[in-house]
């Protein structure tokens, strides 16, 4: 912002210089063409004495051209071209014109300018000074003085004096004693050229201050022209008033001083107010800036991650304090070092590749490599880094990954352990299924063989014992089968398909009722379809329907099982209601636990696994199941399933 403001002033100075050069060249060319007549437009009624001489017209023309050629500051190598030398020669010519006119005004006539208006001493001096100024446009002495500037200011003063002379009608100001006058046109053009010389190098010397946006520059730009104009006007008014006899000298001086004080006061007050406003604005922006700096500092000092800025060559420019804790180096030790020097040798190539990616605009997030700490130990680091094109820097955040990797490793280990435990469990269930069933088969087999071969030696009671042995063995076989099925459920993966629940219930019903005479009346209502594992859901229906049929069996022909279903938002709800023996709601919690039964084995056969299987299947589908019942009146089992089937799987235990 600051630079931009200054730059725009510089641009305006450049434009002014160019305009002044063009104006000078045009006016003097026109003057030469119509010479020696008056050009009313150029000389106006102020042209009291005469038009400029030819030497002066030529001098102005050359000065204008020189200024045009040298109006822009040289930028390195391109400055020393033909035009540069041409401009230098022309500068020298201007100086010589002035010098010759100064030493002997009549020489101009000798070189062919007949009917010449001789050049006044002040005009001659102006040309000398202009020549020097144009020659030394880019010269600055060791003590910081600029000859061009001094020359231009002197020219401006001389020209201004002449102009004042014309306006105030004081001939001494434009005619140096025993010499010829400086004509008004020459005075105006000289002043213009003096200003243009100053503006040609706006970034140097006096002009640097005049074009700066500092308080000083602002003050200079405002006060200088304003006070010059004011003093000039007041002086003229005072003189004219006195000349016309409006007031005498005493009153004139008093009025002049009074007006001076009043206007100066106004001027200073106006400027002071502006300065104050500017200062306030600057303070506000400085406060904002310092707050941002403080926040930045706070972050850099307190971040647990290492924040850093790295330049194009991979060198640290800024590193936050956490570096000392994480890498063992203080920020001061790191600044200027290449980060690659810290990277573990095995990670160098990988890191360099990622850095190329980052610099081409793809930020890295979660890139992990290793650094060598100051003490030689290795630290794993998680990086997130991005390239800032405007700053040409890579900003990055580095986090010590030691803990994360330890946790990941621990997780991996426990996952491995779990997997191996699972394998053990699997082989355990395998041997259970194989080795526990064999003796049961033998018990049942030998009991049966004994019953067959015992013949007459066994009375009825002994036969019943043998039957009981066989029945117990077979029941235990079923128990093992159910238990295995139950444990397999948690390992089996779900295959989700669209399940036609009504067809599934029909099929499950035929299995649930198989082997036993179906006495109950089963009423199946319309059932919504869901996304679920058909084989597992079939198991659910089989178990629930078998239970309903079993527990309502004692009612004989009155036994009634109702199956209903409905959709409720994302969930589908199904109910199996029977009018059987029911259960005591006090024990409802035990219903879905493995091996928990609410009835005696004599009353109703069963292993106590069926409802546990139902609950596990439903929960793995992301649904839930519950039961309501009353002793002697029946039971209702309700389960809900997500229709879309997208709920996460339930327990994996």
């Amino acid at each position: 912002m600051t630079l931009d403001a200054s730059r725009s002033l510089h641009r305006r100075c450049g434009a002014f210089t160019a305009l002044a050069a063009v104006l000078t060249v045009s006016v003097s060319t026109l003057g030469l063409v119509v010479w020696p007549h008056h050009v009313w437009i150029l000389d106006g009624d102020l042209a009291a004495t005469s038009v400029p001489g030819r030497a002066a017209e030529w001098g102005m023309l050359i000065a204008g051209l020189t200024l045009w050629l040298r109006r822009t500051p040289p930028d390195g190598t391109t400055s020393r071209d033909v035009f540069h030398y041409l401009a230098q020669v022309m500068g020298a010519v201007i100086f010589l014109i002035g010098l010759v006119a100064l030493t002997d005004p009549s020489v101009t006539a000798a070189v062919g300018f007949t009917q010449e208006t001789p050049m006044g001493a002040n005009s001659a001096l102006v040309f000398c000074l202009l020549g020097i100024s144009l020659l030394t446009l880019d010269v600055t002495t060791r003590s910081g003085r600029r000859p061009a500037e001094i020359g231009a200011i002197l020219v401006a003063l001389i020209a201004m004096a002449a102009l004042f002379g014309y306006i105030y009608r004081v001939s001494e100001l434009y005619t140096v004693r025993h010499s010829y006058p400086m004509v008004p046109r020459t005075a105006v053009l000289s002043f213009l050229l003096a200003m243009a010389v100053l503006c040609a190098r706006p970034a140097a010397g006096f002009m640097a201050l005049a074009t700066s946006i500092s308080f000083g520059g602002t003050l200079l730009r405002r006060l200088l022209p304003a006070s010059m104009l004011m003093l000039f006007t007041l002086g003229w008014l005072r003189l004219e008033g006195e000349r016309r006899g409006l007031y005498n000298t005493g009153l004139g001086v008093a009025l002049f001083t009074l007006a001076n004080i009043a206007i100066f006061t106004l001027l200073v007050w106006w400027n002071a107010r502006t300065m104050q406003r500017l200062e306030q604005e600057r303070d506000a922006s400085e406060e904002k800036h310092s707050k941002a700096v403080a926040l930045n500092q706070l972050i850099m000092e307190n971040s647990l991650d290492v924040l850093s800025a790295v330049d194009e060559a991979g060198r640290f420019l800024k590193v936050s304090s956490a570096a000392e804790m994480q890498w063992g180096y203080t920020p001061a030790e790191l600044i200027g070092r290449r980060y690659a020097d810290l990277v573990h040798p095995e990670d160098q190539d990988r890191t360099a590749k990622v850095a190329v990616d980052i610099m081409s605009g793809r930020p890295a997030i979660g890139f992990t490599n290793r650094f060598i700490r100051k003490d030689g130990s290795v630290v794993p680091i998680d990086w997130s880094a991005a390239w800032s094109r405007s700053d040409n820097l890579m900003f990055s955040v580095a986090r010590d990954a030691t803990e994360r990797l330890q946790v990941a490793e621990a997780l991996r280990q426990s996952a491995d352990e779990l997997a191996s435990i699972n394998r053990e469990l699997e082989s355990f269930t395998y041997s259970v299924s194989h080795d526990l069933r064999a003796p049961l088969r033998h018990i049942d087999g030998y009991a049966r063989m004994l019953a067959e071969d015992g013949g007459d030696r066994l009375d009825g009671e002994l036969r019943r014992y043998l039957d009981e042995i066989g029945a117990s063995a077979r029941r235990m076989g079923r128990l093992i089968d159910d238990l295995l099925a139950f444990s397999r459920l948690s390992r089996q993966s779900l295959t989700r398909l669209t399940v036609d629940m009504e067809a599934l219930v029909e099929s499950a019903l035929s299995e649930a009722g198989s082997g036993k005479p179906l006495v109950a009346t089963v009423a199946v209502g319309p059932l919504p379809a869901v996304q679920a594992d058909p084989a597992l859901l079939r198991q659910v229906w089989t178990n629930l329907l078998a239970n309903a049929i079993k527990y309502s069996g004692k009612r004989g022909a009155d036994a009634l099982v109702e199956v209903t279903g409905e959709s409720d938002g994302d969930m589908a709800r199904y109910q199996v209601r029977d009018n059987g023996v029911g259960f005591d709601m006090r024990y409802v919690d035990k219903l879905f636990q493995v091996f928990q039964r609410l009835h005696l084995q004599d009353e109703f056969e069963g292993t106590g696994v069926g409802l546990a299987i139902v609950q596990r299947i439903i929960s793995r589908h992301g649904g839930r199941v519950w039961a309501e019942g009353e002793l002697g009146k029946g039971a209702t089992f309700t389960f809900e399933l997500p229709i879309a089937g997208e709920q996460p799987e339930g327990d994996m235990a």
Partner: protein, 145 residues
């Protein structure tokens, strides 16, 4: 042991299972001769007439009833050896086991088992299956032979 070809080779490490199987096969009159060996190694020796069976009459049984889990050499290994040898390649093998584990079923079928029977706990069911298997393969053999 008579001149006739042995009907069934029963490979079974469990004495009880073997006794129940032999009794069922004989009482139901399915077969006349059943040879019983105790594990996979003996089964291989018998089939290829090696060591203790070097002197047996030549000829292959009409059916091998093979238990899956056995000491020394299990049923799957015996099956693999049989299917890898020209002499025993075509002999029908029925795998009999207590296990319902899927892996075993698949492994057996991949090795070219002819049938796979899970031994139920219930003796009457067990007997029924043994008889069915025996009858089926005896008849199948006769129709081939």
């Amino acid at each position: 042991m008579n001149q006739q070809r042995v009907d069934i080779l029963l490979v079974e490490d469990s004495v009880a299972d073997a006794e129940m199987t032999l009794r069922t096969l004989k009482r139901q009159g399915v077969v006349n001769t059943v040879e019983w060996v105790r594990d996979g190694v003996e089964a291989i020796d018998y089939l290829f007439r090696e060591s203790q069976f070097a002197a047996r009459e030549p000829g292959m049984p009409k059916l091998v009833l093979l238990d899956l889990k056995m000491p020394r050499m299990d049923g799957l290994q015996v099956l693999a050896r049989m299917r890898g040898d020209e002499r025993t390649k075509a002999v029908p093998v029925v795998m009999m086991t207590s296990s319902r584990e899927e892996g075993d079923v698949l492994a057996s079928y991949e090795l070219g088992v002819n049938s796979y029977v899970v031994k139920p706990v219930d003796f009457s069911e067990f007997a029924e299956r043994v008889v069915q298997v025996g009858l089926y393969w005896m008849m199948a053999n006769e129709s081939i032979g």
